[in-house]
Structure formats: structure tokens, C-alpha cells
Amino acid sequence: MKRKVVAFVSSMLLCLTSAVSFAAETIKIGALYPMSGRGGLYGQDSEAAIKIALAEVNAKGLPGGKKLDVIVTDDQSKPALAVTLAKRYITEDKVKFLYGVVSSGAALAVTEVSKEYKTIFVGTDHAATDLTANAFQKYYFRVSNNTYQSMAAGALYMKDEMKGAKKIAYIGPDYAYGRDQIAELKYSLGKLGVQYEMVGEFWPKLYEPDYTSYITAIIKAQPDVLVSGFWGGDTVAFIKQAKAYGLFKKMKYFHPDGGGNYEVFSTLGAECPEGLIMSARHHNNWPETKENKDFVAKFKKATGRYPSYAAEGAYAGILAIAEAIKKVGNADDTEALIKAMEGMKVRLPEDPKGFASYIDPKTHQMVQAQAIGVTVKNDKFAPAKYMLGKFKVYPADKIMPTQEYIDILIKTKKK
């Protein structure tokens, strides 16, 4: 018995001493991502992309010969854990920036820490519009799209490309992300004066395994277009099941925020139906710029797979941080960094020719163009057999949340 206790205690001590230490000349960034479970791929892709960005940025050099370093910890997408880790990053690891976060619930909690400790938080993957609207605080920046931008682009697409589609049905996961998307689409359609009729809204729970009852109900409602608000594995599961019922032959499928994620195409492979209208925050095959091709190739080389959209957001944030530090000359003057980041332009893989993403000074939201495409045969990005093509591009300034909408959010959700 005693020997067992000794073995147990020594194994615990081993765990204690293996805590990692970092060199002093580095500027530390504390990143939080889920590393397992449904969001795990987003975390892993983000970590790989961060490494690519760090290599580029550190090769170019920063003021004072300093280097950027990123610590990544698994937040399990749990708000309480994310907050604990964020506080530890700031007080123990002395990070200058908080970074990442996939879950919007966790991000909303972390942005409070950022505000309290006056530490910049660069959000890379969570999409809740709230963070740059009603829950906005000046230490927060987001370098990837929010759902408003996707849905505003979606409304423009519906107006121009789907003129005959009057009857709309919506299906999305029954939580804030799913609810926000349709509210934002309705708002944008209203602003554009598009006439439409909602013939049904369907709210399966997140990670629902069986969509049969929803699929039959949607077919019965006979919409012209089914708008979808799923993400990740839910998109794949729904498409597989709906295809068996011939849903995609009966109506258009429109999925402007998370549908066109590479994760969906690589999982569906040859099973992906043709003609689905989708978008994502980043596409591996659009735009065909050097930056995008380089990014995708580097990612493939490093990991052996193509990136999901989370990767580009994680890559973008590091570039933005490096750019801001270069402008200010150091990473210690937080207020100057904020000033530098407001309005700052960063050329990113997802930027079409002649455009550079920039940070809106008022909301700290990265302003980006959105491209919506249609699934077509394309096997250049194996294991995917279908990719998006026939892209329609919506300029960045047309799809930013209006002040009116921000006011509505503040009024309905409180600050």
C-alpha cells in the first residue's frame, strides 16, 4: 500500500514540475480554443494556423528584436474555465493579448476579463454580433466575420440571384447562434425591401442526431428556399439525411454563414449535393490570390490536410497583432495599440485583389468582403469532391452592421 502511495505522489509531482516556462524577450499571447469534442477541429486548425503566422511574423522581425509567442490552452468551450484561464494568462503568464475562443458564450465571458484587466482580446472564430455591438468594450477586436455580415451578404444574394424565391423556411440550431442568424437575415431583407413569406421556422437542438421529422415538415411546408444556420457536424448530418428525402431537388438550400466550411466538403466527399448555395468565413479556393494560395499550401504542408475556416481567422489575428506592435513600436502601451488597431489595414488570405481587410474604428470588427458560392464538382482539395464555385462577391462596406441594428441589439439585449 505504501509503495503505491509513493508512486502516486511522485507521479503528481511529475505533473507539477512539467509546467512550461518561456523566455523573457517574447511578447506573449494567451490563446483559448477547444481541443476536443465538436469544436475540437476548429481549435486544432487554429493552433496550426497560429504556428504558420508566428513563423512568418517572427522571420520578418518585430521592434526591439522581440518575438511573438502564443500559449494555447484547451478551454473546452466552457465559459467558467475560459475565464479562469484568461485571468491566469494575464496575472501569471503576463500575456499582452488574449486570443481565439470558438464558443460565443465563452467569448462573452472572456471579453469581461479583457475589460477588467485592460488587456486586448483578439477574437478569431466566435460569430455572435453582440461582441462588437451591445457587449462591445474597447479592448475587444474581432478579426473574423460576425453572423450579421454573413446574413447581410445573404440578403443581397437573395435579392439579386434568387428573385423567384418568395417562400422562405429556416432551420437552425436552437441557441443564440441559430436564433441570431435568422433575425439578422430578416432585418437585412427588410432593409433591402425584399418581399418574402416565412413558411416555417425549425429549431432542432444543437448536435441533433436525427433530422427526419424536421425534413418531412420542411418538405410539407413547400418553401422555395430553405435557409440554414447549422455549423460543423450538424451541417453534414442534415445534408446527408435531407439528401435521402430528395429535399435538395424540391427547394434551394441557402447557408450563408457556416455552410461552406471546408470541413463540410471534406466529410461529405462524393455525397455532397450539387447546387447548394453557401458561404463561409474563408474559402480554400477563393480568392485566387497569392496570399490565399500560399496560406492554404503552407497549412497543407504543416498538417497534411486542408484548413477549415477557423484557421484563417487564427492566422489573421496574429498578423494584425504584429502589425499593430510594429506601428506602436512596443507591446506595452495598450492604449496606443488600440489606437493603432482602429482603422488598421491588414492584407489577408481571404481578401480579393485590390482590397485589404480593415478594422472598423467604432466597433472593432474586421471589415471584410463576403463571397457566396454554389457547390460544383471540384476534386483539387481531396478528400472533398465538391467545392464552392461561381462566387458572387459582396463588398465589405455594404454588409457591416448598421448603427440602427446595434441600437436594436442594445435595446433588446441590454448592455
Binding site: 500500500m1 503505491k4 502511495v5 502516486f8 503528481m12 505533473c15 507539477l16 512539467s18 509546467a19 512550461v20 481541443m35 476536443s36 494555447v72 490552452t73 484547451d74 473546452q76 466552457k78 465559459p79 467558467a80 475565464v83 479562469t84 484561464l85 485571468k87 491566469r88 496575472t91 501569471e92 460565443s104 458564450g105 462573452l108 465571458a109 471579453t111 469581461e112 476579463v113 477588467e116 455572435a128 453582440d130 457587449a135 436552437d174 441557441y175 443564440a176 436564433r179 441590454k414 448592455k415
Partner: protein, 319 residues
């Protein structure tokens, strides 16, 4: 009742450790210590049911969440000054809710009681997630205000929480040693005998359930002040589950065991989580080791070794 010196030893250790944190702790360790005392109160209150009365509730998170949401939502609607009042309202609300749920679920025994408490908690979680216009849904509630004096860094709030938690733990400790506490232990060991000596088993169980629940709500309310944000995770069944786990880890047959379990669990999470993303795997292995090799938990083990030297065990604490 006279208190023996050996019975005061855990209290001494408790105060030495947690009070010294005020002076010696870094910002991060104070944050971790705040979580330990608050979850520790939750675990000790839970153990009134589990270790003392022998009732395994799988739904105590409902009261933890209730306390957090009452405090959070009230402070948010009525302003920072209301935070303290909300902390008082939370246990009263939990008392009322637990009276209703207790009457419904305590009629059932053992596994049926456990399942019903789980069902009620999941129901509450469902309402919390679905009714997003009221509760903030799965995004939770952020920017919960609290009085300025508690706002300056984590230290002030830690002192505040430590005072409240210590008072609560003391009350529960007195309860544990009171005749009422002895009846609860009697119910665990042999409920029929308790009814034969003329005591109402159901009523005692109900009181234990209500007391446990209202202290749990205080813990939840205190938690709303640490991070200024709350979320439905606090109500979900895994929350109840981890409290059970921590209690077993520390030792359910001792009063301070659950607190030790909480401390060990949170410290492991903090230390191991730094070096590997597979930390839940490591914690899992440690849990299995403890449960298989030391079924009486950490306190049980240390008592065992203490007993080897003193040649006597804690005779009151055997199951």
C-alpha cells in the same frame, strides 16, 4: 457540547491556509482559492445529503444555478447595490423550491430519488437555455455588477466570499454535530430504527434537503460575483456530477473531506491543464486510482495512516 482540541485542528488548517492566501496569494492563486471555497461550500452542503443522510441527489446544480441566476439577474436589473440583497434572496428562493421538489422526490427511495432529482435539474437547465429572452440562453449573463468595494481586484471579493463561506461552513458544522445531525446519520444507517424511536424520517430528510439546497444557492450566488458572468453550464448535470466526484475524492465520511476533494480537483485541473490538452484524461486516471485504491477518499487515507501511529481509528466515521 464540548469541543475537543483534535476536532478544532481542521478549522485551524482551514483558516491558516485560506487566510494566508489573502496576504501571500498572487492574483491567480486568489482566483483559484475563491473557486475552491465557493465550490467547497457547495460540496460540503451537498454532503449533508450524501455523506450524512445517505441521499444521493444528482440534481444539486439546480440550486447552484438558481442562486447564481437570482443574484446575477437581480444585480443586473436593480444595480450593483442590490448584489448583497440578491445574495440573501437566493437561499430563501432555494428554500422554497427545495421544499416543493423535496416533497415530490423524497417520497421515492434510492435510485428513484436520484433519477428524479436529475430530471428536475435537467428541466431547469432546459428552461434556462430555451428561455433566452429572460435568462440569456446559452450565452449566459455577463457584466454582473457588484458594489465597488468588492470590485477592486479579486482580493476584496475573496475576503468577502471567505467570510460568508466560513460562516456557512461553521453553521453546517454545528448542524453536523447537533442532535439533528445525529438523526440524519441515523437515517443513513437505519431509517426504520429512527421511525421506531418516534422520529419522522421524511420530515428530517426534507429539512436536510432544504438546508443543503439553500447553502448551495449561497455558493451559486457567490460564484456570480467572481467572474461577473454566469451561464447554463452551472445547471447542467455534469455540474452535479463533478460535485459528487469531488466529494468522493475528498472523502464523504468526513466533514471537511468534500472541501479537500474540491481543492485537489481544481488544483489538478489548473496544474495539469497548463502542460497538456489531455488533462481530463490525466484527471480521469487519478480519479480511478483514488476510487480503486482509496475508496474512503483522501481524508480516509490520511486517517488510516494517522490511525497506524495512534493505534485507533475515528470510530464515529465508519460507514
Amino acid at each position: 457540547m464540548k469541543t475537543k482540541l483534535t476536532e478544532m485542528a481542521p478549522w485551524l488548517a482551514y483558516f491558516v491556509i485560506f487566510v494566508s492566501m489573502i496576504f501571500a496569494g498572487s492574483d491567480h492563486s486568489i482566483h483559484v482559492a475563491s473557486q475552491i471555497i465557493i465550490l467547497g461550500l457547495f460540496a460540503i452542503a451537498f454532503n449533508v445529503l450524501f455523506g450524512t443522510t445517505g441521499l444521493l441527489s444528482f440534481g444539486q446544480a439546480i440550486f447552484y444555478g438558481l442562486g447564481a441566476y437570482i443574484t446575477g439577474m437581480m444585480a443586473k436589473s436593480f444595480g450593483a447595490d442590490f448584489f448583497l440583497w440578491a445574495l440573501l434572496i437566493a437561499p430563501v428562493a432555494a428554500l422554497a423550491l427545495s421544499a416543493v421538489l423535496g416533497v415530490l422526490s423524497l417520497r421515492l427511495s434510492e435510485v428513484y430519488f436520484t433519477m428524479l432529482t436529475l430530471a428536475f435539474a435537467q428541466l431547469a437547465w432546459g428552461i434556462c437555455v430555451k428561455w433566452s429572452s429572460f435568462t440569456g440562453g446559452d450565452d449566459g449573463i455577463q457584466a454582473i455588477p457588484k458594489p465597488d468595494i468588492l470590485n477592486m481586484g479579486g482580493r476584496n471579493y475573496y475576503i468577502f466570499a471567505l467570510v460568508i463561506v466560513s460562516i456557512c461552513i461553521y453553521l453546517l458544522w454545528r448542524l453536523d454535530r447537533s442532535p439533528f445531525g445525529s438523526v440524519l446519520k441515523g437515517i443513513r444507517q437505519n431509517p426504520i430504527r429512527i421511525s421506531f424511536i418516534g422520529l419522522n424520517v421524511f420530515r428530517h430528510k426534507l429539512f436536510a434537503y432544504m438546508i443543503s439546497s439553500s447553502f448551495t444557492a449561497i455558493a451559486g450566488g457567490l460564484y456570480a460575483g467572481i467572474d461577473k458572468s454566469i451561464h447554463p453550464d452551472m445547471l447542467v448535470w455534469t455540474m452535479s456530477g463533478s460535485i459528487i466526484l469531488m466529494t468522493i475524492l475528498g472523502g464523504m465520511r468526513s466533514f471537511f473531506g468534500p472541501l479537500i476533494g474540491v481543492a485537489v480537483f481544481i488544483l489538478l485541473e489548473d496544474v495539469i491543464g497548463r502542460s497538456t490538452e489531455y488533462w481530463s484524461f490525466v484527471i480521469g486516471i487519478i480519479m480511478i486510482t483514488v476510487v480503486l485504491l482509496f475508496p474512503k477518499g483522501i481524508v480516509g487515507v490520511s486517517r488510516h495512516f494517522a490511525g497506524l501511529f495512534a493505534k485507533k481509528g475515528g470510530q464515529f466515521d465508519n460507514p
